[in-house]
Structure formats: structure tokens, C-alpha cells
Subunit: 350 residues, 2 copies
DNA sequence: TTGAAAGCGCTACCAG
DNA sequence: CTGGTAGCGCTTTCAA
């Protein structure tokens, strides 16, 4: 008769399965997981049957501690609700599940301090892989401690992968922000635009800064000797873009033909703000963004942007992590310009 | 002299910390985590210092197995890249981090089979809480096994929370789909609309079906004796909406004044499809959606929708999970109609 | 207030 | 091929 204890029953253990199957735990373990082949097939059957009957599920923590390694990949994102990050998360999660890994996700709220804190506690999980997605931010005092933390993690067998820019000495999936913005500038110049406004995030947000620099470089190369662009600084979010547009309208936009917002959510927020003030995007003022998020084709007019295969970036990050190659590799994600109606031909090219 | 072993160094353990601090592991454990107060403060200091010096981070798996419980909450979503789910994920993750819990995320690809499989393997993590977000799907043969799996999980101390509709015997955060759609129908009727098309997902997707039913009920109550709505069935995604609109156009839409799409991504996809065919949404054909996702205000015309506080749903789910109350509670998330320009006044009300 | 030691569930080594 | 058993890193009695 079973000991009908009154305490909360606990899930069946390998012992239970072994007993049920009439074999030792060792055999049960081998049959279910370990080096499978060294078990008489009869016993494999019995163990499997017992496991199924008891609805046994191995205790991952126990396995982790016994084997000395987990099957976990930890993902740090700036903000899940932002399509930029959720696309990356989708890629990572897809590749991870394919590889039989479990994803744990932490949200850093775009704060470098929070990011550091998260990385620290994440180490407690002893994840196989640690993927950090999110723009590097210059001039914070968390840079050094973060590097130290990650360095140590790597020393003890972990794999670090960054997604964004190559700023820290770890394997990185970089997005070609500079090149994409540069080519966008060329494309706009070809359409006849000469005078620009740029909606950018604060200087220290690297992604924004890289895109700006690329855009400016592209402008110079196009020989558009026009006045330097009007620069409006705001948050790296939809509402940041909205606000930037309002500020531009306040100032007056007679001297600008096109706005380059450093990401699509800003561009979309800006378009809405323009429209709210009776300025028709694409007709009265051209707008271009960056990222080519899904909704770029659903706004009006459809948004010219620079496509960044974010989901693929997530996939590649996982693949990089799983590759045997140990060193701080760099994997470059190409970007390409997608011209849509938000930047119509302004001056027919000669 | 340290044993400079050649194998990959492993992270410091509690033993290392104890040795460094000159106390026993037991004391070190108590100082760092356990019942803190029974340690001489001098020793607490020493242990803390040692831990900091070694950059010690407790091995969560080891703690889990020693304590017999984890600090993990497992979240199952249909698709992270969909704003519906990423909003929920944001809510869950926010509340979890606040409670010091770690979130592990799995993506079911909207497949009930995958969902079941995930739940099964997730049990191996022994999470404290298991949150399943995603529409219930009728008529699958996974329902019974899913219930069994979850039941067992609960028996062994886990908390199950569903987000969507109350279909399974577990605590649920339900979204008032029926009521919201019903009130949307009232609102549209008040604006003068009489003849509708409905873009819905297949019958078995409960969320879609509930919204349809609510909408139809609202129509009846409004006494709009018009012809029954034209129903177009498509996928529950943006491209489903796009396709539904195309099919409606093919068929001809002279007899419909407004489209109700059962979610915003469908509605937005539909608007784009309409526009691609030269049909101006809001002028030639009104469109309304459901969920009030962020981009509803950024499309043109801004989309009439039913607001569902998804992030809050995630928060509430976590809160429910953490509440002592054990039984299958139900927490209702209210929804409310937001009328925007995609459904302008059609017939001035009398 | 402390330390020794017995586990937690599982794997892997070592004998048979 | 199989079973016994020594850990894995940590918590938690139990005595001291």
C-alpha cells in the first residue's frame, strides 16, 4: 500500500520509474536519456512504458546539476513590446527550440543599469548561451563591469552573443546600420531630395548615432551641397518620433523636404503627428525610417525604410552561439533600402 | 597554492565562498540566502565580502533541487512577433521581474499540438507558475491530454493560469470578447451602419468565434434588420486580413458599408488590401478591428477598435498566479470601444 | 550561533 | 548490459 502522505504530492522521480519498471535507477537513466544504446531493448521498453504510465518528466534542474550544464539560452532584450525586439526574440526562440534549448527572457527596459543587473543574476541560471540584444549606449559606467561580468561568464564556459554593434569584445551579430543609412541617403538624393531633417535619439545611443553618421556620409557622397540637416533629438520610440515631428512643425519646416527618422517606430509616430497637424506625409513632407518593421507597409503612405532582417538576426545569433568556433566572431547582417510612397520622386533625375 | 587544473574553470561555488570567508558552507548559505538573522553579523559581512570578491552567483538549479522549488514562471505564447502576444509578454515579464521571478518563454506557433508538447516539456522545469496565452481552439484532440497534463502539474504544486477564454478548468484571465464586440456593433449602428462584412478566423478559433457572436448579438439588439453580414473566413493574422479583403473585393462590396475584422492585425492588413485596389478605407468602406494595438492610431484612417489592455492582462495573470487563493478563479478584463476615423458617421442619427 | 551531515533528482563511473 | 554509489551545489535538520 502506498504511503498516502498528506503533503503536496511531488512529481514522479526517476526512482519511481525505475521501481515501476523493475530496474535500477542507473538503467532507467540510461534508457531515458544517457548513452541510450547500452541497455537491453526489453528494458528500454519497460522503462519507457513506466515513464509514460507515471507521466514522468525529468527534473531539468537535477539534470543540470548532475551533468554540470544546462540547456538554457538566456535572452536579454530592451523591450518585448517593441517590434524590433520581438522580431529578434522570435528568431532566437525559433532557432533555440529547434536545437532543443529553452529560452529564458529578461527585459532590460533599455536601461544599461538594468541590463547589467540582469546579466548578473542570469549567470545564476548557468545558461549555455547568453544573447544580449539592444543598442550599446556610450558613456555609461556600466560598460566596464558588464564586460567583466561577461568575460567571467565566458571563462566558465558560457557563450556570449551580442546583437547590435560590435562594441564589446564578444561575438556579435552586427546590423549594417551605417551602410544602410548611407544607401538610403543615396536613394533619397536620387529621388531629388536635397534638404533634410533627421530625427535621432540621444547621442549615446549607438544604433541611432551610427545610422545618423551613415546618412550624413551618404549625403556628402551624393554631393548634395545643401544646408546641413535640421537635427531633432528625441526618444528612440514611437512617442519620441511623434514629439520630434511636433517640434519640427513648431520650428517650421519650409526648409526641409524629407525627414529621416532613425527607426520606423519613430518615423511612424512622426507621420501621425504630421497628419494631426494637417501636414500630409509623402506629399507635404517626405518621411523615411529604418528597420522595415512589418507595419511599414500598412501605414499611409507606405514607409520608405531600410530593411533589417531582425528575425534572421536572432536566428544567426543562435547559430553563432552553437557553432564550435570559440572566438569573438562577427556576423554582419546586411540591410537594404526599400523605397515606398512616403518618399515620392521630388525632382525627376537628370 | 591553488590547484591550477587545466580543465575549463567552473564558477565559484558556495564552498569557495565559505572557505574564503573562513566559515562553514552552512553558515555561508544562511548568510547569503536562507533564514538570514541567525548569523553573527560579523560573519554575514565576511561572507558577503567573500561572495563579492569571488563574484559568486548562486547556482539556481542547485537551489531549486535543494529547496524543491524554483523561482521560474513559464510563459507559452502563440507568436512573439504578434503585438497581441508581445504585449502580454511585456506584462507578464514586468510583473515577474518585480516578484523576483525568472520568465521562460516558449512559442507555440498557434498550434495546439505544439502547445501540448511545450507544456509537457515545460513541466521538466518545475516552474512555479505556468501561463498559457492564446486562443483556445475547439475540436482538437489535444484538449483532453492538455487538461490532464495541467491537472497533474497543478496537483504537484504548480499554478496554471490561462489568458484568453474560460474553457479549461483553470484560473483564467478572460478578455471580454463577446461584450466588446457587442458594444462595437452598437456603436457602429449608432453611426448609421446597417450592412456588414465580417472577417473572421476559422470556426474553431474561440477568440474569433466569441467576437463574431458578440458582434452579431449587438447587431440584433440594435434592431438593424438588414441582410445578414457577409462572412469571410481567413487566417487570424495580418495576411489573413489582407486576403479576406481581396476576396471581398472580388465578390463585390456594393452591399456592405462596414467591415468588422476580428482583430486589428487583420483589419490593418485588410485596409492595405483595400487601398491597393483603390478602395479608400473609411470613405468607400468603413473598417473596424479588435484589440486596439498600438499601431491602430498610426494607420490611415485611424482604426476604430475595441481596446483590450493586453499588458495589464499579463500583469493580472501574474498577480493571480501569486495570490494565495488556490482555486480556478476568473479575472475578467474589460474591453471598451474606441471609435476613430475608419468608421465615420454614415447616417446622422435621428 | 555554528558546523556536520543528510538529502534533493539525476548522471556517470566502476565493478560485476 | 546492469546495479551500486559517489558526487553535482545547495539547503536544512540536528547536535553541539
Amino acid at each position: 500500500m502506498e504511503d498516502a502522505s498528506k503533503t503536496a504530492p511531488s512529481p514522479p522521480t526517476l526512482h519511481d520509474v525505475a521501481r515501476e519498471a523493475g530496474v535500477s535507477v542507473a538503467t532507467a537513466s540510461r534508457a531515458l536519456n544517457g548513452s541510450a544504446r547500452n541497455v537491453r531493448s526489453e528494458n528500454v521498453r519497460r522503462v519507457r512504458a513506466a515513464a509514460a504510465k507515471l507521466n514522468y518528466e525529468p527534473h531539468l534542474s537535477a539534470q543540470a546539476i548532475a551533468k554540470g550544464s544546462t540547456r538554457t539560452v538566456a535572452l536579454v532584450v530592451g523591450d518585448v513590446a517593441d517590434p524590433y525586439f520581438s522580431a529578434i526574440a522570435a528568431g532566437v526562440s525559433g532557432a533555440a527550440e529547434e536545437a532543443g534549448l529553452i529560452v529564458t527572457m529578461a527585459v532590460a527596459d533599455r536601461s544599461p543599469d538594468r541590463e547589467l543587473e540582469i546579466v548578473r543574476t542570469l549567470r545564476g541560471q548557468r545558461p549555455r548561451v547568453l544573447i544580449i540584444a539592444g543598442s550599446r549606449v556610450d558613456g555609461t559606467d556600466t560598460r566596464a563591469p558588464l564586460i567583466e561580468e561577461l568575460e567571467e561568464y565566458r571563462t566558465t564556459g558560457g557563450r556570449v552573443i551580442m546583437i547590435s554593434q560590435r562594441d564589446l569584445p564578444f561575438a556579435t551579430v552586427t546590423v549594417d546600420n551605417h551602410g544602410g543609412a548611407r544607401r538610403l541617403a543615396h536613394a533619397l538624393a536620387r529621388l531629388g531630395y536635397r534638404r533634410y531633417a533627421i530625427f535621432r535619439a540621444p547621442e549615446r545611443v549607438r544604433t541611432s548615432t551610427d545610422r545618423c553618421a551613415g546618412f550624413l556620409a551618404g549625403l556628402r557622397e551624393s554631393g548634395a551641397g545643401g544646408a546641413p540637416p535640421v537635427v531633432v533629438e528625441a526618444e528612440f520610440t514611437r512617442s519620441g518620433g511623434h514629439e520630434a515631428a511636433r517640434r519640427l512643425l513648431e520650428r517650421g519646416y519650409e526648409d526641409v523636404e524629407a525627414v529621416f527618422a532613425v527607426n520606423d517606430v519613430m518615423a511612424i509616430g512622426a507621420m501621425t503627428a504630421l497628419r494631426e497637424s494637417g501636414v500630409v506625409p509623402g506629399r507635404d513632407l517626405a518621411v523615411a525610417g529604418f528597420d522595415d518593421i512589418g507595419s511599414a507597409v500598412d501605414v499611409v503612405p507606405p514607409l520608405t525604410s531600410v530593411a533589417v532582417p531582425l528575425k534572421e538576426a536572432g536566428l544567426r545569433a543562435m547559430r553563432l552561439a552553437l557553432s564550435p568556433d570559440d572566438r569573438a566572431a562577427e556576423e554582419r547582417i546586411a540591410t537594404h533600402v526599400v523605397v515606398r510612397e512616403s518618399t515620392p520622386v521630388l525632382r525627376p533625375s537628370g
